[in-house]
């Protein structure tokens, strides 16, 4: 994929993070809970996963945050030293890490929403 396309996707992901992170923080501070400690109780956490709006928010936040974070890390690593081989290595490593992080996060969402 072209670097300009990746950068455009990155801008979209940043916007998605701004919206979904605000909602995520609100659900840990005042939205449906009495405070931060209350939001971390098992019943509260599982209850949030059963709401479609929360699941959607968490899914989008997971993908957007992983893309933005790993794209930034890739750029930092590519700036320290150049070369086609290093480019391939760093891109592949960050892609695999992204798949692992998004995969594990989605597993949590799916199992908690429909399982447990």
């Amino acid at each position: 994929m072209r670097e300009s396309t990746l950068q455009r996707i990155n801008y979209a992901m940043i916007l998605a993070i701004f919206v979904t992170l605000a909602v995520h923080l609100a659900t840990h501070a005042f939205l449906g809970v009495s405070g931060y400690e209350d939001s971390l109780t098992y019943a509260s956490v599982v209850g949030r996963y059963r709401a479609f709006s929360t699941v959607l928010t968490l899914g989008v936040l997971l993908i957007a945050a992983c893309f933005h974070g790993l794209y930034g890390l890739r750029n930092i690593l590519l700036e320290t030293r150049w070369g086609a081989r290093r480019h391939r290595l760093v891109s592949t490593a960050t892609r695999l890490l992204g798949v692992a992080m998004v995969g594990w996060g989605l597993r949590t969402i799916v199992l908690t929403t429909w399982g447990v």
Binding site: L73, W104, V116
Partner: protein, 152 residues
């Protein structure tokens, strides 16, 4: 295009300078330090995100595992870590808005002939004021974090 400027697979391009010390090259620039802080905070948040995803995953193991995990993580050192994440995320977000404004809007300034004393046109007062806002909001987020986490 001149073939000498095209990087091929076999081209061995020179290493850049030492990874962190470029931020402290003289003359010191607040924007250069902000770029370093943006990268350090970004990597720190990514490390937090990595552990956050896997810690949150313990909710699938049931109530007992979740409560013991939360109990193990509820200590002053972890609260300090959470506070640092709040501070880093606030700076990263507001300074990130400044960087995007510089990339996508006329805030970057018009190109002009470089005359003595060679002040960069991109480092104008507009973007500097956003950087001050980022620093102010980071301080406020730090104070709010202290109130929320330690109830002071």
């Amino acid at each position: 295009m001149d073939p000498s400027v095209v990087a091929t697979e076999k081209t061995r391009l020179p290493r850049r300078g030492r990874p962190i010390l470029w931020a402290f090259q003289r003359p010191l620039h607040l924007e250069r330090l902000a770029l370093l802080a943006q990268r350090v905070s970004g990597v720190a948040i990514l490390v937090y995100l990595f552990f956050h995803i896997f810690v949150t995953g313990t909710v699938t193991e049931g109530r007992g595992v979740w409560e013991s995990t939360m109990g193990a993580l509820s200590n002053p050192l972890m609260h300090l870590g959470e506070w640092l994440v709040v501070v880093a995320a606030t700076f990263h977000a507001v300074n990130g808005i400044r960087v995007m404004l510089l990339e996508l809007t006329p805030l970057v300034g018009k190109p002009a002939r470089p005359d003595y004393p060679y002040e960069a046109k991109s480092l104008g007062k507009g973007q500097r004021s956003v950087l001050y806002v980022a620093m102010l909001m980071t301080s406020l987020a730090g104070l709010a974090g202290v109130v929320i986490l330690w109830g002071l």
